[in-house]
Symmetry: C3
Subunit: 137 residues, 3 copies
């Protein structure tokens, strides 16, 4: 399947992959449908939010770390329970409509790989889904 490779450089980091994703859509000449981006990892997530002001990403990361601290009364012995939980809260996939060859993201939206247990090499699997024909409204 088509996929992206992303290298994180810190334990916790939001990596803007929007440009890579747009390039994937263009290379595959997809004009209508939807793009599923799926993270096959359990300590990283993916979501869509503002990519204009980098302070927003910083606030998201800081707040998630406040809600789910790295140290806590966790049972899992690998010291990364917080990363698993943050991955659940952000989610393992996004699905974006494609119309007239373009990802239908809003003006301020970007797609972020959310690394919670890096640095690591991460993979994002892509699948293009078919639209229903003859939609009228």
């Amino acid at each position: 399947m088509p996929h992206l490779t992303v290298e994180s450089r810190r334990r916790s980091e939001l990596i803007d992959i929007t440009a890579q994703v747009r390039d994937l859509v263009a290379r595959n000449q997809v004009t209508e449908g939807a793009l599923l981006l799926f993270v096959p990892h359990t300590t990283a997530g993916i979501f869509i939010n503002e990519n204009a002001d980098p302070d927003v990403a910083e606030d998201i990361l800081t707040t998630l770390s406040g809600l789910v601290p790295r140290q806590g009364a966790y049972r899992h012995g690998e010291g990364n329970s917080d990363a698993h939980i943050k991955a659940v809260l952000t989610g393992s996939s996004v699905l974006v409509p494609i119309s007239q060859g373009r990802l239908e993201l809003g003006t301020w939206q970007g797609i972020y790989l959310a690394e919670f247990d890096g640095p690591r090499r991460r993979r994002v699997t892509a699948a293009f889904l078919a639209p229903l024909p003859e939609v009228k409204a």
Copy 2:
């Protein structure tokens, strides 16, 4: 692409859009597949939960505001970091199966646009996705 327009009237508000969505499915005469509803905004989300007792929506909103307070040690200068973070926690899309011309929502489920930085005019983009033929089980 087909879309809905939703007007929020408060800063933080859950707006039940289920009736509008059902109408969209009917107008497009979709019988089988799935409906992607995508929010092209970064301070609003979308999710599915109970729409029978309005107290449930109120509890969801109050609890989210407790977890992610409006005021905090945020870096983003616009005063709406909480709205961005709540949008991440709720998510930017829902995907609902359609069968025999009907949205396959459960008895108590409704679809909510989650406004976290209103009042504003919001858009929800819709894309109908094709089912695989010949599913047998």
Copy 3:
């Protein structure tokens, strides 16, 4: 529509449904596309995370219960507001790519039905979505 039935035995419980889901994919002889798993309930969610060490699931459940306590200043009179809110935080669906007849889950990933107000019999609706043909990259 195809669906799975899951019986929960506790109020709060993460139930690994990965084997049932793989079986569904095999029975339907799906080779390419994506599988939507949709939970038509408002006090249960679904998500993907590690299923190797059961302590991870336990940590996820405990942390969610810490963030959204069972008792609180809730308005909804049924005593399960926490379950509704946890369902919103985890989400009502997952979408998994399928390639060469296999669910494209990562090595450590499993699919969990997240029961937050059991014990109950729960349903997970499945819809197979069609891939776009002629993807090249």
